[in-house]
Symmetry: C2
Subunit: 376 residues, 2 copies
């Protein structure tokens, strides 16, 4: 739990103006520095994902060890997930796009967990049916992102609980309420399911080792708010005879309202969902908070600030993978050459085109998802 | 949790000289009185089990409601269980014998739960394999007691977790750490699995209603130390739209060492296991704590005290269902006519004969148990 006066970062709340340097210090993770980036680039076949080039994935735990093992021929497994409390919004896609890149470049398997139990336990208003239904909806997005179905295993907690529960007991037996309280900020009013839940989120980090019967490195790319869960996982791992999972942390995608929070499903008007009608999403973009000035004349004269501009940041995180183009646009925005209206229209077109294609792939994935849900 | 200076009664610890009147007051349950006994007798076809006649089952919650429903044609389901931390000892058989009587007399189904997860979480030294193995061993005893396999459903928690977990989440969402702390005496050092566990023990109380899709009364016969779990269950039930399970509580069978504690697997020398060689069990009886005097002469003169005599109490709880014979023996013991050696030898013969027959039935049940464990 990080509650630093100015900002809060827990798996269930991100608010305020996040100071990522302070967060790294507080969480005790490592910066991804240039030598490490170059090492990843080399092993990935000479290419570096724009999220690494742009420091959007900015922090890690034990990544060099994962790469050492990879060089020795001991391939890692990827593990990431989704808390199915709502439809997917485009902020969620950031770690997924990156995870797909890792899967493709390193040719490794992925465990993708849908924590329907967690979201039911933590969200008063959601029913079990709701979170199961959102698992299904979110899974359509995961498949639309293009993960190789042959190398990707989907785990919906309540559907695979027979596999997860025995190992979750192993974790739970080693974690006291004191620890859970310190890591997650639980109180006496927290329900006993929420207290237990982190045990379930630990298991996919151990499954590759359990199922192969030998130590398999696991790499978890995720937004940094999920780190507390995996601190528990990493603490428990050696006591259960498993390797500690490594981590790759990304920053939060700012909301359309500006840099003070991450995009959130609890604010649907200012959040772009993958299920939004493309025209509706475009309208949301046109209402976005920007880094512009009060008047056109002022912006022409003094320029805008791309660092606090949601529109610029959406291009940075998701919609302009070309560094050169992004740099030019940011410069033009900073010196008043590009105005907000034009910038928004530019992003809106990209968002519309993306959603149209994504929604097509989403529907293509539906028969497979229906099949996965029927089988279990 | 009842910690009353003189004695402690929790699902995980029973010690001291239990004051059952104080316990009823503290737990807030009801005494089984003569009119209620007569009502049970009538509905059971004119017979009353000796454990009711002797006030060994002495306390209840909502039993009249269960009988009302039964009279209206709405049959109840029975639910009891076993924490598989060790081999079964003969003390465990008390509620099982009684439950079988209820099943036979009222012709009702039984859910029998084996909480292998609980025992793993609460007992440091036990592995998951241990508690699963003891579930199997204990199940042999359950079947040897003679429950009708057609009307009895065995639930081993880790094997049926796919059925239990979703409903356990419903319970867990409604129970705060405060409540769990107050009911069970948990501390900050309690592991997060133990904190969650009571949710799993609640589920079989709701399964008949869930599976039938209409309210089914559930009656839970058990030793009174299990009551705290079901207080949580009963508290949560109406908030989930289920009827509160009714309870029937029995006293603890004293250990061979005397009335200060219940028989416990942690003291194997003074506990008779159903797997003990009959001759070995007979030797344990011969070493038992009695209500006798320092010398034979003194006992002949002043007599013994059957109330604190383990040997007499074993006859009372398990091995002398004939009230007249028991009364005569107790009188003869009290007036010095029967001495300890003779009394022990009398019980030892009964125990030997029982174990021989029980162990035969146990082995007869093995193929069915192996099958049940393979299937799931």
């Amino acid at each position: 739990m990080a509650k630093k006066g100015e900002f809060t970062v827990t798996p269930w709340e991100v608010s305020g103006n996040v100071d990522y340097d302070l967060l790294i210090k507080d969480f005790g993770s490592q910066r991804i520095d240039e030598p490490l980036r170059q090492r990843i680039k080399k092993l990935a076949g000479g290419e570096l994902h724009y999220m690494l080039r742009r420091d959007l994935f900015f922090s890690h735990r034990d990544l060099p060890w994962v790469l050492d093992e990879y060089e020795k021929g001991n391939k890692f497994s990827l593990y990431t997930g989704r808390g199915p409390s709502e439809h997917t919004h485009i902020g969620h896609l950031v770690p997924w796009f990156f995870t797909k890149w890792l899967q493709d470049k390193f040719n490794v398997p992925l465990l993708f967990q849908f924590t329907d139990d967690e979201k039911y336990l933590f969200k008063d208003k959601l029913t079990r049916k709701d979170t199961l239904e959102f698992s299904k909806e979110n899974m359509l997005d995961v498949l639309a992102v293009g993960f190789d179905p042959k190398k990707t295993r989907m785990i919906v907690d309540t559907k695979e609980i027979a596999t997860l529960y025995p190992h979750a007991l192993d974790v739970a037996k080693k974690v006291t309420f004191s620890t859970a309280k310190a890591v997650f900020g639980f109180t006496n009013d927290t329900n006993i399911g929420s207290i237990f839940f982190t045990s379930i989120q630990s298991v996919p980090a151990f499954l590759p080792t359990i199922e192969k019967g030998k130590p398999v490195p696991v790499l978890i790319p995720c937004a940094i708010d999920q780190d507390p869960h995996f601190r528990v996982t990493r603490d428990v791992a050696p006591r259960l005879g498993y390797p500690k999972p490594a981590m790759l942390h990304c920053r939060f995608v700012p909301a359309l309202l500006g840099p003070q929070s991450k995009m959130s499903a609890s604010d649907p008007v200012n959040t772009i969902f993958t299920t939004d009608a493309p025209e509706e999403a475009a309208k949301k973009v046109m209402r976005a908070f920007t880094g512009g000035r009060a008047t056109v004349a002022e912006q022409r004269e003094k320029g805008g600030n791309p660092d606090i501009c949601s529109v610029c940041q959406y291009l940075n995180f998701l919609f302009e993978p070309d560094d050169k183009k992004l740099k030019e646009r940011f410069e033009d925005y900073r010196n008043g050459k590009i105005l907000d209206g034009e910038n928004k229209a530019y992003l809106a077109e990209k968002v519309k085109a993306f959603l149209k294609e994504h929604q097509r792939k989403r529907e293509q994935a539906r028969p497979l998802v229906e099949k996965l849900f029927e089988e279990k």
